[in-house]
C-alpha cells in the first residue's frame, strides 16, 4: 500500500467514523440534557403520567400512546393497499401499465409531507367530520389515513423489490403446472418474499413514527389520552415541535429530550429488527443457491 492509498484510506475511515459517531453522539446528547429528569426521579412519572403543566403534571404517556396509535393505524391501513398495488404492478399487469404505475409510485415518494398535510386539512378533515358526525375531524383516523398515503410508496417499492427476488424458475414452475395467478401469489411469492416485505413494513413504520408535519397539522394535538380513533391526539414529534418554544430551564422543556429518547428507541428497535430479518433472508437465499 503506497502513501496515497493510506491517506485515502484514512480519510474514508475517519468520515465513516464521524457519520456513525454522530448517531451515538446525538443519543448521548439527549441523555445528558435529560439528566435532570433521571436524577430527580421524575423519569417514571414522566414516562407513565398525564400532561397538565398548570397542575404540575409532565407525563408524556398520552403522546407515546398517540404516536403508537397513529403510526400503527397508518401501517395497518397501508399494508393492504400496498400489497394490492404491488401485486398489480408485479403480477397482474407487469407490462406498460405496471411500469407506468411504478413510475407514479416512485414520484409519490418525492412529495413533501407539507403537501399531504395541507390536502388533509382541506379535504380529509371536513370529510371525516361530516362522515362520522363526531368531533372536529382532526383526529387519529384522519392523520393515520394521510400517513398511510405517505408511507405506502415506500412499502410498495419494497414489496415489488422483494417479489422480484423470488427466483424466476419457481414462477415458471407454477406456470408449467397450470397454476393460476392467485395460487402463484399466495403459495409461491409470499412464502418466498415475506422477509423482505416485513423489512419494508418496519422501515415504513419508522417513517410513520418519525413524521412530524402531518400529525402536527391534522391530528389535533390535544394532550388528553386518546380513547378512540375519532379523538384528537398528539404524537411525540408534534409534542417536541410544540413545546420547544417553552422556557429552556422549565421541566416542560426537559420532556423534549425524554420524547426524543423514546422516539430514538422506537425507531432504533425497528431498524434493528429490519436488519435481523434482512440478514436472515440473505442467509436463507445463499444457502438455497
Amino acid at each position: 500500500m503506497n502513501f496515497k492509498e493510506k491517506i485515502a484510506k484514512f480519510i474514508f475511515f475517519s468520515s465513516s467514523i464521524l457519520s456513525a459517531g454522530v448517531i451515538f453522539f446525538i443519543l448521548g446528547f439527549m441523555i445528558i440534557l435529560a439528566f435532570p429528569v433521571f436524577s430527580k426521579g421524575l423519569f417514571f412519572d414522566m414516562l407513565t403520567g398525564l400532561w397538565s403543566p398548570d397542575h404540575g403534571l409532565f407525563g408524556i404517556l398520552p403522546m407515546i400512546a398517540g404516536t403508537v396509535c397513529i403510526a400503527g393505524l397508518a401501517v395497518f391501513i397501508s399494508i393492504p393497499i400496498s400489497l394490492g398495488c404491488s401485486c398489480f404492478i408485479f403480477l397482474v399487469n407487469p407490462g406498460r401499465t405496471g411500469k407506468f404505475f411504478k413510475k407514479i409510485v416512485e414520484a409519490m415518494t418525492a412529495v413533501p409531507t407539507v403537501i399531504y398535510g395541507f390536502t388533509g386539512i382541506f379535504l380529509l378533515v371536513p370529510l371525516v367530520r361530516n362522515l362520522f358526525q363526531h368531533g372536529s375531524g382532526m383526529c387519529i383516523l384522519s392523520s393515520a389515513i394521510m400517513l398511510a398515503l405517505l408511507i405506502s410508496p415506500t412499502m410498495i417499492l419494497f414489496f415489488i423489490q422483494s417479489f422480484s427476488l423470488v427466483p424466476k424458475n419457481y414462477l415458471n414452475a407454477v406456470d408449467a403446472l397450470g397454476g393460476n395467478m392467485s395460487q402463484k401469489f399466495l403459495y409461491v411469492i409470499i412464502p418466498n418474499a415475506w422477509r423482505g416485505m416485513i423489512t419494508g413494513i418496519i422501515l415504513s413504520s419508522g417513517r410513520a413514527l418519525g413524521d412530524t408535519l402531518i400529525s402536527l397539522m391534522i391530528s389535533g394535538n390535544s394532550t388528553a389520552f386518546p380513547g378512540s380513533v375519532m379523538d384528537s391526539a398528539r404524537t411525540l414529534t408534534a409534542h417536541i415541535a410544540l413545546v420547544i418554544a417553552a422556557d429552556f430551564d422549565s421541566i416542560e422543556f426537559k420532556t423534549i429530550f425524554l420524547s426524543g429518547i423514546c422516539l430514538y428507541v422506537m425507531t432504533c428497535t425497528g431498524v434493528i429488527l429490519a436488519r435481523i430479518t434482512m440478514k436472515k433472508q440473505n442467509f436463507q437465499r445463499n444457502n438455497e443457491i
Partner: protein, 284 residues
C-alpha cells in the same frame, strides 16, 4: 410599411414616457416614510415570533424591499415565546411578542421593548354557528370542558370542538389571563400553532370555538360578543372590550441599524396607517 414602423415607435415611446412618469409618481408616493431606507447596502433583517404581527410585518417588509431591493427581510412565526427567546439568543434581529415580556425575560436577555399597536383577542366561532354571544362564565365552562355540547348554549346538538394555542403563544397568554380569568383549558382541546392556523381551523369547522387576534377577524369567522360587548376595533380602542394587549417588537439591547429603521418605520405616520389598515389600533 415605413409609416407603420414610425407610428409604432412613436406609440412605444409614448408608452415608455407614460410608464416612467407613472413609476416616478408611485415612487414619490411610497418614498414618504421609506426615505430612511435609502442607501442601505446589502443587509438582511431577521424577524420571528408573534403570529398576530405577521400581516403588518409582511406588508412593511414588502414596501421596504420594493423601495430598496438591497434589503432582505425574513419573517417567521413561532409564537411570542419563540420570538423573545430567539432575539435573546441572537438568532434574529427582532423578536415579536403579543404579550409584554416578563421581568425575568427582560433581565435575562436585556430586552428593549417597542410597542407599535394595540390589539384585542376575541373568541371566534364558525359563521354557521347560531351561538353568537356568551358570558365569561359560559366561556370558562366551554374551555374547561364543563359544557361540551352546543345545544346547552342554544346551538345544534353537536359536540363543541375546542381549539387552543401552544404554550409559546402570546395570544393564548392574554386570552387565558383576561378572558378565562386563569381558569383551566381542557386537555381535549385541539392545539394549533398560529393565529392564521386558528382562523383556518375555525373557518373550516362549524362546531369549533377558538380565539384569535381581532386584526384577523373578517366575515369567515364570527367574533363572539362577550358579556354584551362585541369585540371590534372601536370597542378595543375605547377600552370597553377588556381583552386587549399591545403588539411588541423586541430587540436585544437598544435597537440599531436596520432593526431600528424597521421599528421607526412601524411607528412613523406611514407605518401607523398600515397598522390601522391591517385591523390593529395604532399607538400614535
Amino acid at each position: 410599411m415605413e409609416n407603420n414602423n414610425i407610428n409604432y415607435s412613436i406609440k412605444l415611446m409614448g408608452l415608455m414616457i407614460f410608464t416612467s412618469v407613472f413609476l416616478m409618481q408611485t415612487g414619490i408616493c411610497n418614498a414618504k416614510g421609506l426615505d430612511m431606507f435609502k442607501g442601505v447596502k446589502q443587509q438582511v433583517l431577521r424577524i420571528s415570533g408573534g403570529t398576530a404581527h405577521i400581516p403588518v410585518m409582511k406588508e412593511a417588509a414588502k414596501r421596504i424591499m420594493q423601495f430598496n431591493p438591497e434589503i432582505q427581510i425574513t419573517i417567521a412565526g413561532g409564537g411570542s415565546g419563540t420570538g423573545i427567546r430567539q432575539v435573546g439568543e441572537g438568532l434574529v434581529d427582532i423578536g415579536n411578542s403579543g404579550r409584554h415580556p416578563t421581568k425575568t425575560e427582560i433581565k435575562k436577555y436585556k430586552l428593549k421593548i417597542y410597542k407599535w399597536a394595540i390589539d384585542g383577542v376575541a373568541a371566534v366561532t364558525n359563521p354557521k354557528n347560531r351561538v353568537k354571544a356568551l358570558s365569561t362564565k359560559q366561556l370558562q365552562d366551554i374551555f374547561s370542558g364543563k359544557i361540551v355540547n352546543w345545544k346547552d348554549l342554544g346551538g345544534v346538538d353537536r359536540q363543541i370542538d375546542v381549539y387552543t394555542r401552544d404554550k409559546s403563544s402570546g395570544t393564548r397568554a392574554v386570552f387565558w389571563k383576561k378572558a378565562l380569568k386563569k381558569s383551566d383549558i381542557t386537555d381535549k382541546a385541539n392545539v394549533v400553532v398560529s393565529n392564521g392556523a386558528m382562523k383556518t381551523a375555525i373557518r373550516n369547522d362549524p362546531f369549533g370555538i377558538g380565539y384569535v387576534s381581532v386584526g384577523f377577524i373578517d366575515n369567515h369567522v364570527t367574533a363572539i360578543t362577550l358579556d354584551g360587548i362585541k369585540p371590534d376595533m372601536d370597542s378595543v380602542k375605547s377600552g370597553r372590550y377588556k381583552i386587549a394587549r399591545g403588539l411588541y417588537s423586541n430587540t436585544k439591547g437598544e435597537a440599531k441599524g436596520l432593526a431600528k429603521k424597521f421599528i421607526d418605520y412601524l411607528l412613523s405616520p406611514d407605518g401607523q396607517k398600515l397598522v390601522l389598515n391591517k385591523g390593529f389600533i395604532p399607538v400614535k
